[in-house]
Subunit: 300 residues, 6 copies
């Protein structure tokens, strides 16, 4: 599937028709907060990582132009692993979580805050000075606590102080958040980015929480594309996790969707970030893609 976005591609009358069609969607989302989790895995399947970032950035800039208030939350697992390898550190995982000693935390923080976050911020700011990079350590944004002593500096979200996020949104700026948090003694922790995205969405009362991933949604049978569920309730999510249909790295995403919706977020989506402009298609057309979790799911 390809999209030609070269200027002048659409005939004027098509442009007019598309814009008129989009009116109700534009009105619905104007002034609303949309939290987007943009992850390394979303890019894993993309042939061209640079093009994927460019497409993502265009979508965020368009949302911003249309009055939406986006917040970007990102991880960076592959990039952390790459720097560790160069520095001769061997990654170690337990139950899918990275064992994080002090040096690993330093590396993770440098990569997330000083590399991935910067790349997204500067790519957005080519379109105007709209993006501000943040870490959860800033102004007490994310209070964290140790998840498990055996894992070292891996953290859970204890609290989200949304005041600085709101202040930036009020100024029409786009917060880009690296998922490091700190406790009251100044110790930092690396936190699962899916979990942070869900907690932030709930804390700011987001209209939508969107995960851009490398799968096309949640499937009743992971091996069978035809079993993708287009709509689920939080309870449906719980059941699919319990049966093992949702597994591995999809678990924190699915649970973040269910929790966020239970805490008041309008809808949470798991989309295939490899599809160009998946975010726009979800928000501004009738074509639902991926899986949507809402309080009132009406079957798939």
């Amino acid at each position: 599937m390809t999209v030609s976005a070269s200027p002048g591609a659409a005939a004027p009358e098509v442009t007019a028709a598309v814009l008129v069609e989009a009116i109700p969607y534009i009105r619905r989302f104007s002034g609303k907060v949309v939290v987007v989790k943009y992850g390394g895995n979303a890019l894993a399947g993309a042939a061209d990582e640079v093009a994927a970032l460019a497409s993502f950035v265009e979508d965020i800039v368009l949302l911003h132009s249309l009055g939406v208030l986006p917040i970007v939350v990102h991880g960076g697992g592959p990039q952390i692993g790459a720097l560790m390898a160069r520095l001769g550190k061997t990654p170690e995982f337990r139950d899918g979580l990275r064992v994080t000693d002090a040096e690993t935390l330093d590396i993770a923080r440098m990569v997330l805050v000083g590399k991935v976050n910067r790349d997204i911020v500067t790519a957005l700011n080519v379109h105007g000075p709209i993006a501000v990079g943040l870490s959860g350590e800033d102004a007490g944004l994310i209070t964290a606590a140790e998840h498990d002593p055996a894992l070292g500096f891996v953290g859970d979200v204890v609290a989200v102080d949304a005041r600085m996020l709101r202040a930036l949104l009020d100024e029409r700026l786009v917060p880009v958040l690296a998922t490091i948090g700190a406790d009251g003694r100044g110790q930092s922790y690396n936190i699962n980015a899916d979990t942070v995205a869900g907690a932030v969405a709930a804390a700011v009362g987001a209209e939508k929480l969107v995960f851009l991933t490398d799968v096309d949604g949640i499937r009743a049978d992971p091996a069978d594309p035809s079993t993708r569920r287009s709509r689920l309730s939080p309870g449906d999510v719980d059941a699919l996790v319990a049966t093992g249909a949702v597994a591995g790295g999809m678990i924190p995403k699915a649970e973040a969707c269910a929790t966020a919706v239970r805490e008041g977020v309008g809808a949470a989506h798991i989309l295939d970030g490899r599809v160009a402009h998946a975010l726009l298609l979800e928000l501004y057309t009738d074509q639902g893609v991926g899986t949507m979790v809402t309080e009132m799911a009406v079957g798939s």
Copy 2:
């Protein structure tokens, strides 16, 4: 030329491409004031007057959704003539201006403020409570003076008090203005709507002034469509009026364009209102239609 605006008409990837293309235009006009003169003559050539109003209303609603601050100025000559005919009054014109005795003024005011203005306001408000009807008599908006004793209550614009317009725009409301003004003694006057549109655009510091008419622009030779000028400077306009190339009802429009641009309006346009969504095409595509008057015209 037809535009199908039925939902789902455009393929999702086309929608995405169109929206991405529109980003720079959306950003350019967001928060800017656009004054649109919508006239009876714009509709004269439309096969279906109701459809033409619906298309116009869709365009204004879209502009409003995209953060533009539209002001609608309207006339209603044909409708005034129709009511006069039903009441047995014979219209009389001198130099293209309607001789307006007290009874004619009453009729004009009833038609403009109580009929045409109402029809536009209620059509817009179907999309949400966004439009407010005004007459230049409200809160001293338009101070008028007698144009010529021989013409009766035909007025010139003496001053525009833009405070109420700004207050409404600040509330994200769309002012719809009937072109009646009053003098300090409470005497009302009927004023040429093209002139009012230009004066209002200058008074509010509009980014654009747009005339929706029944012609495709200003032509060096009115009889020859191939002589349409796409860009003119105010001086060019003066010259075309002086040579007679601009004549009749086009004179007040052309002069309002030139004056408004001289008083700081970014650009003034004369478009063919019979083309569906002409307003959208002008603002959100590269396809310039009609004639644009700007300080720095660079030939046609």
Copy 3:
């Protein structure tokens, strides 16, 4: 009864005494909203309609000068009838309500919004740019619904959105309201002006609702002036309607008074608008005129 208002009529010491006497009343009503229903019938008994309007306008301007926040609500039945007659339409009434087909609605709207409203607005604005004409169709001010299919476009008040009224009052402007409303599909309706005045008074939390009529108040026996009741509770009003003592066009006025008071308006008055400056006398002297409806009526 005549009032000489020519400049210099009162001796200076009388002026001083009058002003000092008025202090407590001025303080009591400063900053308070007073909704005044000004009706065609108020003028029916006045020898000179122009003088009556001038006197009314002087009163509103004085209230405004003294810090009161007036809202004027008006009807225009006689004027609608006059234009219908000129256009060859025969008015038809059922139970006192005008049967209103589409053409009649157009006529009513032209007369109310484009004629009566304009006359009041321009008369007020001779004293400064203080008045703004409104229709209930503006910015969703009055949501209406069909009263009875047999009557056509005669409406009931479903909801009043007081935000624009408050915004205008905050700017120290005087809203002048024509009693046309619209439903969500953009269909307009003509609504009884007495009912609108009561609903608006309740919606803005007015201190007073005043009906200027052509009678001297509510009488226990309509034929006997000596039975005028100076004070009534809402329950008293219900009883007088039930017994038939209040009948005809007085019913909507009396019921609007009772309803408004029940919904929090401080007091509602029915005054004889033919008495010069009746409004001033009611507000700024001890001389109660007409009938006052309050929660705590203490007999007549």
Copy 4:
């Protein structure tokens, strides 16, 4: 001359007429600052000092009710003398100024701030909590400097910091100012109240400065009432002082009027405070009393 202010004294139609007549004056002074110097000498000729204060208070309360922003400045020479006498101090004057040693300053301050100021504040506050007593020592309101070492703690006005006055006026409060000032070292001074009134009027940009005195105005020949001048320019005042026509305690009043007008105050008045409600008559009727100083005096 007597004024009966008992309730109900005026017939209702007279009340209405007076109020309608007052409209233009009410509108002219609403929101404007009027500085009133109220002095012991104003009361010297009044048969009943308590009644005189009551009448003055009624006037200030009415002004406040009508939207005027009054500032009261007062002296208290006779009362200072009385307490000095009781304490066995012999007053000593040089060139009309009281020689003020430390003990005399203490007495003056107690009388002005703790007695006269309090009496005016509490009399006003019977009508509602509208008055606040101030000394020029509060928050640096009046910076003073020694006038002449031979006179002790008699001060000149060096600067007026009008911020607190404006803050109180913004809250619709009436500042009542005792004319004590202080220098940067915390030393207080007694200052001529006429001079302070003029300086305050200039500092706040007052519309009017009014001196309530015990004379009927400035006379070309002090002994001849028929030579009272109704209007003077600042230059006229200078000339009358130079010729000695203005002499004694009238000099600081006259000079304060001239200076204030030169510094932007609209008009300055010297009225006979013994005439009941002289302040109201001056502001709200055509009857000019006393002497008015304005930039454009047009003869007497």
Copy 5:
């Protein structure tokens, strides 16, 4: 005990250490209201009254510099007595309260508002224009009622209107309050300053209420310094009053502490005002001095 406050007295490294130590206290009290009762009795034991006032003023200015919002409440019993003596009036007391006839009230008001209040205000304003003197009569700050007809114009606090205090605090000004109140008819009363301080602290929701006295706190046995209680609950205070351990002039102080704490003030303190900078020591060091009343007293 002496404190050398001459510039340069402390070595730089001591200065740094002291400031660093003070950080948590500075942060705790910044932006909080502290009501300080400063009484004549606090000074009675001071060898040098002028030095005592200077030290008190330094403390208030420092609090103000550190972001605290101080309110000063003062009495002036000895000074009232002195002026009465000079005027030949014999003070008369009943149950410790001064019998106050009209002349005594005048004297008390002159001394409190025109002498003591002024001295504190001007001493503070040497450090910048930060202090504003007030009486409870200003703008209805303290509504009072007669305490006992036999005592004359001695008042109880009926209500505190804290709006003007808050407005001054918002402007970062220091209100200095003389404890005269007035009733609705304009009659003033002299009120116990301890009681006023407590009522004001409760009305503004103060963090602390501090009485600067001439004793070192509340003692279980007044004659035995070793029985000083460092912490008391309001109930403890009641018990000590009931047993007579708290007696005489200490009763209103102790009861004001207990009442203020019960009405939400964080803590109330009785300190020895003769100790230099007692206020600073209490707020900015760990060294608790005097007696503190809090909801959760934990024994002495």
Copy 6:
């Protein structure tokens, strides 16, 4: 030189004396912006780097508590070099500037934004959520341009957009700025931190700019401590640079001081950051340390 900051170290009376002494300094700097450049070199001479950071953090927290608005600008040369070494990159310098290829830029950015900045932010936030980390790339804060093609991604400051800094200061937050900037195409650059500190101080109109270094100030003869200059004018600085007395890494600091003062900063200081609490001593005692650059230097 050691400072004991353990609680209770100072006797209460010393605490009181120190606080009273500090009043004028506290008042002078309250509400003022102080930009502090904190550099790796400041720490090079400190025996204990952790203790040095802790002392610096205490100073910034105290300044914040005392109402000062600090902005921290930091570099991190040694730390960049350390990571480059671990990754096998050989640093290369030309004229004292690091040759910066794409990989080196990535490393510098990770270290500055993701390591040094984070360490300062989290150390500050132990005292409350007051610090926010920023890069010059955020919201267009620092627009940069290539310094010299031969050096790669080493940047000059083209413009500082101080809006976000001001917004954070308005919220009483402490911006901590890593000195990476970006150009309009999204290319990032590493910029000399001394230069950034000076440009930021000028852009926000700082009261003071302070460099914490590892020298005791500017010396006329670098080898002779007795030639330290305590005060210099910008012209003096120019002369010392021209003669070579100021050389090496001191040049950008000295020039930043001179430029900032010329652009309106009140004073710029070069202090020895190895002295504990040097910042406090400079601001809150008479003891000037290091070198101060001001417009009006009056000899050393």
